[in-house]
Amino acid sequence: MGYEASLRVWRGDAGSGSLVDYKVEVNEGEVVLDVLHRLQATQASDLAIRWNCKAGKCGSCSMEINGMPRLGCMTRMSTFAQEDVLTITPMQTFPVIRDLVTDVSFNYAKARTIPSFSPDPAIKPGEFRMQQEDVNRSQEFRKCIECYLCQNTCHVIRDHTENEGAFSGPRFLMRVAELEMHPADEADRRNIAQDDFGLGYCNITKCCTEVCPEHIKITDNALIPMKERVAGRKYDPLVWLGSKISRRPEKAGTPAVPGKR
């Protein structure tokens, strides 16, 4: 039942690093994170791994396994042949802290730029009334466990770090979509989705959807509908005319982008 797996694990820090070969015992039913824990407990006590729930619910143990962005806790060893060599590396897009742990602060900074939930202040707690069918879509996006595998995978920043300032990435564009589709939210984030969060950079290759461990249809259900809403607003002749003749600022319902100077 048990066997010895061959692992090549990236060891190092921001300065330098390399792949190191290990042989580790594997038992029936185990996932990659189990095997890394055994490696830690028996051969490499200082191997840095970020993990928490080991149940696919917290999104901490994101890593790349044979080049595929995945959660270590949800990748069963039985999906590989026993003679396969498993190459395990940190997420490529984010700076390495040590071994398999990366600095994901980029994502927390982006989270702070999205204008928060803005309900009608006249509605008091307990008075919200929403139908299930109206909350289904935003609920799908709120399944997100913030593993940042989509952020790591999206080629807009994976291959072009120069885009990091202008592009919030699939996770946070989906957050914009979630608030836009929230039945009790009153703000209009369509213009800033395009101008400040870089929705236009997305060319819907669906790589984010492919790696999402929660199987959220990020591209089809969040990003494409957002693009349609933005286009609808931008090319609506009435909106255009209104913006030309009104003395009020064009984006009356558009909140300011926090932290933007």
Binding site: G29, A48, I49, C53, K124, P125
Partner: protein
């Protein structure tokens, strides 16, 4: 990056330091910030990853959205019954009264709960709750709660960015930071907290007159557990080391339904919602065995036949609940008995089946995480076949002894909230009462800390440099030993010992043996050595966590040996009955030097108006003759379901 020898310390000054970034910690921080206090949130993991994300079923709050008969009095009664009347009654009262407001508040902060047909927050059935009471989002309610609170913190930071030009001005999150010691001034008041920052390994000092412990539980002390690595009893240990007292540490909840296979995920939680939504427990003979295990104290409220139990799902006013929905301690013990009697499943559990009870599409809608979890980790499709489950260490009812209204401990400036606090849940917590506990007492702890700060005026307790030096030396010690044991080995063996000797069913000889083993573990833990640098070195972190796990393990074992009865999360094979005399006793643990001391303290009495919510016949099952003689006159009916039935509903 810090070298192993570096004693440099980053220093910060705050009004309130909240240790723990789960539901209770975030709710406490939000309320401290609302009171104008400069607040730090210390998170052992990344922000938004805390153990609260693993809560599945929901938050119990008597909103009455699904059954209008529900109200705080019914919720209070259920909570006291679930805890076998050992709860702190004031805590159970505040919790039942305030939970609805705390849940509604989340909705105003953006949470999207599942809805009723009239657009309100939907509520589901759960073990021990008389009415559908749990606000939920499928089976991922904890994630919704943590994300909502996380996003609320971000919203406050955005306000501060606008008005103070610094998002971190009033509330700042220190992610991947661990506190190893609390510091006090000469007069014994809290003056700060010391620890390390994971990514650099640098030391950090927070100078602050108040600390709110919101560190969660102790499950990592046991082998089979639903808890994550963070649950190493840090707050329990920090409180003891700072001079605070713990209460009733013998009460450890073994959740009846954890995965039993594959071994690598043994213990992983299977939500109680499976049973709340219609799932049933069967043994290897296909029998719904829970009907054989309804205890005397609950007999009046639970169905006696499968037909009646099944009718309850659609007509709860005229039928009694299925025994699968007994409180968790009862169900866990029953499963254990079936397995011991040789009627278990192939991998040593019993069967939990929803596949023959609900259509596949309904299972997918109501239990999506469970479907995902079993399919991906065990290759089992729960819409087609039963799950195999067994008891798993899930929650500790014991914790820091606190004032119910303010969450203050006996140490001035030290507060505790959520799982690290004790008293609220008595000897057994009802499912769903944890998420609401976090919110209700999180708010109260933040307010309590703010009130304490206001009472201090301009005096700020000072950190003693000798204490700080000692904290640094303690944290560096594992690096100074070049030859020593591996911390992982010590931890694994400790978990096995606790599981084997102080687990679900306890015996005097075994608990005594465990206490002997713990002495040896302490010696071994003092000798562990770690190679490598300080930056993100998990071997080092483990070796420091061992101190906390050993302390709480000893507390659990000492209290388990002392309490000679069986009640809730404490089952003694040699004392199988519940004892009215023992109900009056809280077991208190304190630390003097390196020695734990255990004393008895009377349980706080229930006010007459709260006592009046129960009928005398029910109280008879729990109380001594002397207590019963002192009760006031006529009693209210025991159950409003009965009352409603009498009124012809």
């Amino acid at each position: 990056m810090a070298t192993p020898e570096s004693t440099d310390i980053e220093r910060y000054s705050y009004d309130v330091v909240v240790i723990g970034a789960g539901g209770s910690g975030l709710r406490a921080a939000i309320s401290a910030r609302a009171r104008g206090k400069k607040t730090a949130i210390i998170s052992k993991s990344l922000f938004g990853k805390a153990h609260t994300v693993m809560a599945e079923g929901g938050a119990a709050a008597a909103m009455g959205n699904v059954n209008p008969n529900d109200n705080w009095q019914v919720h209070f009664r259920d909570t006291m019954r679930g805890g076998k009347f050992l709860n702190n009654p004031r805590m159970a009262e505040l919790h039942a009264k305030e939970a609805p407001d705390r849940v509604w508040e989340l909705e105003a902060w953006g949470a999207l709960f599942d809805r009723t047909p009239d657009g309100k927050i939907s509520q589901r059935n759960f073990g021990g709750h008389e009415y559908p009471r749990l606000a939920h989002v499928g089976d991922r309610t904890g994630l919704e709660m943590i994300r909502t609170l996380q996003q609320r913190v971000v919203a406050l930071q955005q306000e501060d960015s606008l008005s103070l030009d610094d998002p971190d001005a009033m509330i700042r999150v220190f992610a991947e930071t661990t506190i190893t010691r609390l510091l006090k001034d000469a007069s014994g008041r809290i003056s700060g907290a010391f620890g390390y920052i994971r990514d650099t390994g640098r030391f950090v000092l927070f100078e602050a007159p108040t600390v709110i412990l919101a560190t969660g539980g102790i499950g990592r002390t046991f082998k089979v557990t639903s808890n994550s690595w963070e649950y190493s009893g840090d707050g329990h240990a920090l409180a003891l080391l700072a001079g605070a007292s713990l209460l009733n540490m013998e009460f450890v909840q073994f959740h009846p339904t954890g995965m039993v296979w594959p071994l690598s995920v043994a213990g992983l939680l299977v939500t109680e919602s499976v049973r709340g939504d219609g799932g049933v427990l069967r043994n290897s003979e296909g029998k719904r065995f829970m009907f054989d295990y309804v205890p005397e104290v609950f007999r009046a409220q639970y169905a006696e036949t499968e037909d009646e139990a099944d009718r309850w799902y659609t007509d709860p006013d005229h039928n009694r609940r299925p025994p699968e929905l007994l409180p968790r301690d009862e169900v866990a013990r029953s499963i254990n008995s079936e397995i011991k009697a040789g009627r278990g499943s192939p991998h040593g559990g019993v069967f939990l089946d929803v596949s023959t009870r609900l259509p596949a599409e309904e299972i997918l809608r109501k239990l999506p995480s469970m479907h995902h979890q079993f399919l991906e980790l065990a290759g089992v499709d729960i819409t087609k076949e039963p799950m195999e489950i067994g008891p798993t260490c899930h929650y500790v009812m014991g914790g820091v002894e606190v004032d119910p209204d303010t969450a203050a401990s006996s140490v001035p400036g030290l507060f505790a909230v959520g799982e690290v606090s004790g008293g609220m849940h008595g000897s057994n917590r009802l499912g769903g009462n944890s998420l609401s506990d976090l919110l209700v007492f999180g708010k109260r702890a933040g307010d309590g800390a703010a009130d304490y700060l206001d009472s201090l005026g301009s005096s700020r307790p000072a950190v003693s440099s000798a204490d700080l030096d000692a904290a640094v030396a303690e944290a560096l010690a594992p690096f100074s030993r070049s030859e020593g044991e591996n911390p992982y080995t010590v931890h694994h063996e400790l978990q096995q010992t606790m599981n084997d000797l102080v687990g679900l069913i306890r015996r005097e000889s075994e608990v005594k043996a465990a206490l002997g083993e713990l002495e040896k573990f302490k010696e071994r833990a003092a000798r562990v050595a770690v190679p490598g640098e300080r930056a993100y070195n998990p071997g080092w972190h483990y070796s420091l966590d061992l101190r906390n796990m050993l302390l709480v393990a000893e507390c659990v074992a000492m209290a388990a040996l002392e309490r000679q009865e069986s009640r809730g999360g404490h089952t003694r094979e040699d004392y199988p009955e519940m004892s009215p005399e023992w109900r009056k006793v809280n077991l208190i643990l304190t630390l003097t030097g390196d020695k734990l001391e255990l004393t008895h303290k009377p349980l706080p009495e229930m006010r007459p108006d709260l006592l009046g919510l129960f009928d005398k016949g029910e109280l008879k099952k729990y109380m001594t003759e002397e207590e019963l003689a002192g009760l006031p006159g006529p009693q209210a009916p025991a159950s409003s379901a009965t009352a409603a039935a009498e009124e012809g509903h």
